[in-house]
């Protein structure tokens, strides 16, 4: 009953999405408020139906109902409850349902909170949103139905891929999807503007917060995924330039660009057409990411779909939406009113520079990701484009951008004064130089690149603090006044500063771990001692253990500083019984921001000896903490009341008589 109800709700959601695809759009054409209103109703209904459907699938997983093919293939009665739940989206069908559920959620949010939007804009946005929903619901029902039944029902399920049995997995895909799919709102707004042939003033005000929401989730999702790969795969790396990672990184880059260009558009009514294009591109990259991951064209840990019909279906969706929206853009962009011009040295100019670098960088990542696929299809030549390519292209493009980031927020709109900004950044530059010299002295001149990299990170961090301090007037007015002013600054100012600060922190982590990490691979017998990160690490031996659905060899290590015992660590090799699949459970010890990381390799032929890989990773956690700070910046910016839009009828008088005090 529950399973079939879920299935039926999914089908009904498709019917509702079809209604939503047509009626509001027709209403906007005819200028009929009632037809437009159906968009609000259907968007919320559609979301409720999808939520019901998803809840039913979760129930089936929790109850181990193996009469559902999806549960049978991805679950097992012995699996801990947490992974029974996370297993719902740990597989292709379930994750696609989650994808559509989030799509529905964003549609419902626009419907619910968009009361103050111009009615026809809202109606168009909801219809475009419904087109996407319809396409993906068709995809799910036709090729990846999670409610397919199995009769007679087996008594035991297969298992979720053990690499995916992890708390990280519980959070990583939903976050990533909230990010990916969140950009659909920006896309829908862009297409709606193109359909209308006009961009309302409210447009930019609306696109930015939605982009911000998606961006926050995507930032956290990428950081989470990176940390998950870091500790779960046992390879010690945190970014592999794997196509799946690139698939989430490209929308992040262009989404970041979109955030900045939307700012120009909101404040200065410039860059309108470019922002529309960027919104389309960002969601197109999200769709491309979905295609790459879901179609199985890539062989990767994440690619669990191998059915070619699915690939073709998603490719068709991709072609229709990307091709269609770009064609619409080419056709209608001329109808949009172009924005104003500005001097190259100005806040707008800085943001254009930001956009230029970010989109170019996204394009190089795109080339590196797709080139092997294209070459394989066209010429049959198999190549791989790995980390060296990305380091060679992405790095040089990012460095100049990072170097000028602190200038941006200090420049005035329209016409900026570079010298004035430089003067205010004096102290930051000086301190950053001191950091460079200090690092050079510490390494006795051995690591010039490391020194420069850390200096750049310090420059970013100090530059963003300078911005805040300058705005509050530290140094110009009394400290008490400055503090009060700091507290009274608009939250978006904090948002900018925090996001740039986070960028600096991440850079610091990256540079430090890349240049100062030590790595040691050796065969150890019990009692043997190795040195890493200032510790003597003694291998004590390995014991066999049984987990709920795995067996493991757990190796114990004792950490000693000199002769003092500091701690013990454990690192394990697991074998998941149902799939006979081995995994590595790395032992990780965090010390402030640095980590000691121990992974086990093969067991040696003679008893007790084992291959051990030990890394000392200085400041590695900053890589992810920086991303969290960036996301906090996004949240601060989002909480700024100034992003909200008033409704004409209700607040007109108030707004005319007394300016709304912003906090």
């Amino acid at each position: 009953m529950i399973v079939e109800t879920g299935h039926y709700a999914l089908v009904l959601a498709l019917a509702v999405a079809l209604v939503q695809s047509v009626l509001p759009l027709a209403g906007a054409r005819l200028g009929d408020g009632r037809l437009m209103q159906t968009g609000t109703n259907t968007a919320i209904l559609g979301f409720l139906l999808l939520a019901l459907s998803f809840a039913c699938l979760v129930t089936a997983h929790v109850q181990s109902d193996f009469s559902v093919l999806n549960v049978f293939e991805n679950s097992n009665s012995a699996k801990p409850m947490l992974y029974k739940v996370t297993g719902v989206w740990g597989n292709h069908e379930g994750s696609m349902l989650l994808w559509v559920l989030i799509l529905g959620l964003f549609g419902a949010l626009v419907a619910g909170f968009g009361r103050d939007l111009p009615a026809s804009l809202k109606a168009n946005v909801l219809s475009v949103q419904a087109w996407i929903t319809t396409a993906f619901l068709l995809f799910i029902l036709a090729t990846s139905n999670p409610f397919q039944r199995l009769s007679p029902a087996p008594f035991e399920g297969q298992d979720l891929n053990p690499v995916l049995q992890d708390v990280g997995l519980a959070i990583h895909p939903p976050l990533l999807y909230l990010g990916y799919v969140g950009f659909s709102i920006a896309f829908s707004f862009a297409v709606a503007a193109l359909i209308d042939g006009r961009i309302d003033a409210a447009w930019a005000r609306w696109v930015r917060p939605w982009t911000l929401v998606a961006w926050i989730f995507l930032t956290l999702g990428i950081a989470m995924g990176s940390y998950w790969a870091y500790y779960e795969l046992g390879w010690g790396g945190w970014w592999f330039w794997d196509p799946v990672e690139n698939a989430s990184f490209m929308p992040w880059l262009s989404g970041t660009a979109l955030l900045h260009s939307a700012l120009v558009m909101e404040k200065r009514s410039a860059l309108k057409i470019w922002t529309v294009l960027l919104a389309i591109l960002t969601f197109s990259l999200s769709l491309l990411g979905t295609f790459l991951v879901r179609s199985g064209v890539l062989t990767s840990v994440h690619a669990f779909a191998t059915d070619p019909t699915r690939g073709v279906f998603i490719l068709a969706i991709l072609a229709i939406f990307v091709g269609g929206s770009l064609a619409l853009f080419a056709f209608r962009a001329a109808a949009l009113e172009a924005g104003g011009l500005f001097a190259p040295i100005s806040r707008e100019g800085a943001l254009v520079l930001n956009n230029l670098f970010l989109t170019t960088a996204a394009a190089t990542v795109l080339v590196g990701t797709l080139y092997p696929l294209v070459l394989d299809v066209l010429a049959g030549t198999k190549i791989s484009v790995g980390a060296p390519f990305f380091n060679m292209t992405f790095g040089p493009l990012m460095l100049p951008l990072l170097a000028v980031v602190p200038f941006g927020p200090l420049l005035a709109w329209k016409r900026g004064d570079l010298m004035a900004a430089a003067q205010r950044l004096w102290a930051a530059a000086g301190l950053a130089l001191v950091v460079v010299i200090a690092v050079l002295a510490y390494t006795r001149g051995g690591k010039i690149l490391a020194a420069l990299g850390i200096g750049l990170a310090a420059w970013l961090i100090l530059g963003s603090l300078t911005d805040l301090a300058g705005r509050a007037g530290f140094g110009r007015v009394a400290r008490g006044v400055a503090l009060r002013r700091l507290a009274g600054l608009p939250r978006s100012a904090f948002g900018t500063a925090l996001a740039h600060l986070g960028l600096g922190i991440t850079l610091l982590g990256i540079v430090s771990v890349v240049t100062f990490q030590t790595e040691l691979i050796t065969t150890m017998t019990p009692g043997q001692v190795v040195e890493a990160g200032g510790y003597a690490i003694r291998y004590e031996g390995t014991e066999k253990r049984q987990g709920p659905n795995y067996s493991e060899d757990a190796a114990r290590f004792t950490l000693m500083r000199g002769t003092d015992r500091v701690d013990t660590m454990e690192s394990a090799r697991r074998l998941y019984t149902a799939r006979q699949q081995p995994t590595t459970e790395a032992g990780i010890r965090t010390e402030l921001f640095s980590q000691l990381y121990i992974a086990l390799g093969d067991a040696g032929a003679n008893g007790g000896a084992t291959v051990v890989r030990v890394w000392w990773k200085p400041l590695v956690t900053l890589v992810w903490l920086g991303a969290v700070v960036m996301a906090l910046g996004g949240i601060a910016s989002l909480s700024d009341r100034r992003l909200r839009v008033g409704a004409p009828a209700r607040s007109r008088r108030r707004a005319l008589l007394q300016p709304e005090p912003a906090e």
Binding site: V19, D200, G488
Partner: protein
């Protein structure tokens, strides 16, 4: 039934809620878009003042910004004056839309769900099923369910067709024969059904290929001349009727066409040897019994598992016992060197059980569980299988 009630109410609520706005009377004209623009610009002016008041913006900068926003505001105000709310759709058109939606949503949902869904299928949460019938591991429950359904819809040919081979494997030969007959009656003849019917009839007759069985096998062969199962039994029939001259080539053909590790191979080769001996034909080297593990099949593996029993019944009981024990010993050897074979362990446990060696069966179960811990799926599977046979794994006393 309950499902349809839920589905119908869901559909009704959703359809009604979707068309509700259309059915309402016209609301006041919504604001023109330029009015929304005005609102945004006013808010921006307000923010500007706020920034200046806090000292976040220098007043001269604010002045320029104010002028710029002011210009946009004036233009938007002009537009708002000039624009007029459009009339909207006509009432009749809206009612037509509502009717179309009210018809299309349920129709589309039912059509799509009808092709994809299984409305009659209940949920089968593991907990509820575990309580149903532990001894039979749910197989009985499933069969009971199917039987219940067939009682209500006795003309469901597919149901009989699915059930028949299950009966056959469970040694419920009378039921199997009935199911096969029904399936043939309702769905028409097929090689697999005819051969199954023949096998069931043979088993009912205690291993003797009866006239009914023989004609069933012949019909099966007419439909599929390569069907080994039917040829095996027809050869067996010849042996049983002591027509060794005809049986010998028939058995040889079966041996030649079977995959070398087919479970019935040992029997067929033994039968070749037997027939050769009786007809005085030279005993061929290949005719020597070549017992292989797997001759005694668990009920779950494909192939005519009852065949061996039938064929073996033709041998003298002493020969048979020796042959089986030889095979079992070999299987045990193999599992010792390669224990990762759940099916093999099940075979071994079953064989010991059949041979009347419960201690050996218990030991085999324990050995199997050393490789497959009881919580692993294979482990559970083996444990359930053994429990069905009455093998508990108890008794640590001796290992054969």
């Amino acid at each position: 039934m309950l499902f349809w009630v839920v589905a119908a109410s869901l559909t009704a609520i959703v359809t009604l809620a979707a068309v509700w706005p259309v059915l309402r009377p016209r609301t006041g004209a919504s604001p023109v878009r330029a009015e929304h623009d005005l609102e945004v610009y006013r808010a921006q002016l307000g923010e500007l003042d706020g920034d200046v008041a806090r000292g976040a913006l220098r007043s001269e900068d604010a002045q320029t910004a104010r002028a710029e926003i002011g210009r946009r505001l004036l233009r938007a105000a002009e537009q708002a004056e000039g624009a007029r709310a459009r009339p909207g759709a006509r009432r009749g058109g809206l009612i037509a839309v509502a009717v179309v939606v009210a018809v299309a949503v349920p129709a589309l949902s039912l059509a799509v769900y009808g092709t994809l869904g299984s409305p009659a299928m209940p949920d089968l949460p593991l907990e509820a099923r575990a309580g149903s019938d532990p001894s039979a591991g749910g197989m009985t429950a499933l069969i009971a369910q199917a039987e219940e359904r067939l009682k209500q819809a006795p003309d469901d040919g597919r149901g009989w067709d699915v059930l028949a081979p299950i009966y056959l494997r469970l040694s419920r030969y009378e039921d199997a024969a009935k199911a096969y007959r029904n399936a043939i009656r309702l769905l028409g003849s097929s090689a697999a059904r005819e051969a199954g019917l023949g096998q069931a009839a043979t088993e009912i007759a205690g291993g003797e290929v009866t006239q009914e069985a023989k004609s069933a096998f012949e019909r099966a062969l007419a439909l599929d001349p390569t069907l080994l199962q039917a040829r095996f039994f027809l050869a067996l029939d010849l042996s049983q009727e002591a027509r060794y001259a005809e049986a010998l080539p028939a058995w040889r053909q079966v041996v030649a066409d079977s995959p070398p590790n087919a479970p019935w191979m040992a029997m067929a080769k033994a039968a070749v040897a037997d027939a050769a001996q009786r007809t005085g034909a030279p005993a061929l080297a290949e005719a020597a019994p070549d017992p292989r593990p797997g001759a005694i099949e668990p009920p779950t593996s494909p192939g005519p598992d009852a065949d061996q029993v039938a064929a073996a019944s033709q041998l003298s009981s002493g020969d048979r016992q020796a042959m089986i024990e030889g095979m079992v010993a070999q299987l045990a050897e193999r599992l010792k060197s390669d224990p990762k074979d759940a099916e093999g362990w099940k075979k071994l446990i079953r064989s010991y059980n059949v041979l009347g060696q419960p201690d050996a069966a218990n030991a085999a179960l324990r050995d199997a569980q050393a490789t497959f811990p009881p919580e692993s799926p294979e482990g559970t599977d083996i444990a359930t299988f053994a429990r069905d046979l009455g093998v508990t794994g108890a008794g640590e006393t001796r290992t054969p």
